[in-house]
Amino acid sequence: MEARPIERTSSASLCRLLCSSIGSKALVALTGLALFGFVLGHLAGNLQIFAGQETFNAYAHWIKSKPALLWGTRLGLLAVLAVHLGVSVRLARRNRAARPVPYAFQNTVQATSASLTMVWSGLAILAFVIYHLLHFTVGAVSPAEFGRTDPLGRPDAYTMVVLGFRHPAIALIYAIGMFCLAMHLSHAIQSVFQTFGLNHPRCMPLVRRAGFAAGFLIAAAYVSIPAAVLAGIVTLPPGVSP
């Protein structure tokens, strides 16, 4: 067989790059990074519930009063999610196809359980996000708790969240969803560094540990909200009955 001639890079190479194995991985990492940004931003917003009904409702109202920003972000996130999901699923299918005959004796040396379950934790997060949107954005899970207004006439997001998390079963669903997020992030964060070629012998062990810790810390911060409601730390505003 003859050696293939080496091609010079051209503008068409970007297209080829994105379809290549490494380009696809970079796309997943890049969109993952954007989704990670959302996870952090959303957490910062949610934690305002600890500041009470007034702060939280004012924040929720502020977002809703900027439809361009709100819908721009929503559509942007949807597009990013579609790429993240679409490319990952394509890669996962290709990876399955790359080993048509499995080993009879399965064994693993050092792969973490988080790394082995990225597709499943990712799909679980997707299912959770759909449930979460139905719960707090559409109001389909418990319609009676949805659509209330506070004394200032704003949508009462605070009361809705507190009422929602008073059901232990719903709080549990959130905890499970956040556990999946923790697993996903604990592999994803260090993966981004490796995929973009940032692997320095001195920094990488730290990056791996920090990524693992960050994943679980972020999930714990999210879970603190239903936990605080169940523990009676975040309570219904005076005069509101379930």
Partner: protein, 254 residues
């Protein structure tokens, strides 16, 4: 462990007549295996037994039997090259096994490495990737002076670490996605670290990655099983080098 300890083993070995045969695991017993034997010598003992019984011996790849040629390729209890880190299966000694142990021996499993017979797979996909890498520019004429081209010690060592790859394919066999990225990365970063490799550096990365993708290997998902089984202990840092070079080249950067 006594010096002359002998092992009795139960082996479950993948038998497959040819590429079209679906194959199956067959069970064999070998008695009195010396702990000083290598894993391949243990298989030689089995094959003598099989030949004496008029059965077909088990086909497996091997050549140097001293850990440098990259021919031997057995998955031992799910781990390519067996349980000993940084060791080819030809250099794996039977003292790492216990008397009465059951051992499952399978070929490298990957679509890009079709089974030829029993435990022998076709690894010519690796040759095609190497060919796609093309040439390095060198001046013709008299051979240059040994030290005419200075290479920083750090770079020389990184290049040598990557050049230790013997192309056995254990990385593919161990990867949950049957990805060849550690192999390709070793070859790419070996030249990327040396001045001789610079003129074609970016093009080489693009061409080798494209060839790798064409062969039907899976894609790396950063689980690092490859690094754990590599008999030459090549680091996944080489994959980061490959990712960086490929992304830069693909984005048109220099």
């Amino acid at each position: 462990m006594s010096e002359n300890k002998r092992l009795n083993l139960t082996l479950h070995i993948w038998r497959q007549k040819n590429a079209a045969d679906p194959g199956r695991l067959a069970t064999y017993r070998v008695q009195g295996v010396s702990v000083h034997m290598s894993f391949l010598e243990m298989l030689d003992v089995l094959n003598e037994q099989l030949t004496a019984q008029g059965e077909e011996p088990v086909a497996f790849d091997h050549d140097c039997r001293e850990g440098i040629c990259g021919m031997c390729s057995l998955t031992v209890n799910g781990i390519p090259h067996g349980p000993q880190r940084g060791t080819t299966v030809c250099q794996l000694h039977m003292r790492h096994f216990a008397d009465g142990q059951e051992i499952t021996i399978e070929p490298w499993r990957a679509k890009a490495f079709p089974v030829v017979r029993d435990l022998v797979v076709d690894r010519s996909a690796f040759d095609r990737i190497i060919q796609a890498g093309g040439f390095v520019s060198v001046n013709t004429g008299g051979s240059p002076d040994g030290n005419a081209l200075p290479v920083p010690k750090k770079d020389a060592e990184a290049a040598m670490d990557a050049a230790a790859c013997i192309g056995c394919g254990a990385c593919v066999a161990a990867c949950k996605n049957a990805s060849a990225m550690l192999f390709v990365a070793a070859k790419i970063s070996h030249l990327a670290k040396l001045p001789q490799g610079q003129p074609e550096r970016r093009e080489r990365a693009l061409a080798m990655v494209a060839a790798m993708d064409q062969e039907g290997f899976g894609f790396c998902s950063n689980q690092y099983e490859c690094e754990a089984v590599c008999p030459k202990e090549i680091s996944v840092r080489t994959i980061a080098v490959m990712n960086r070079d490929t992304l830069r080249a693909g984005l048109g950067g220099a």
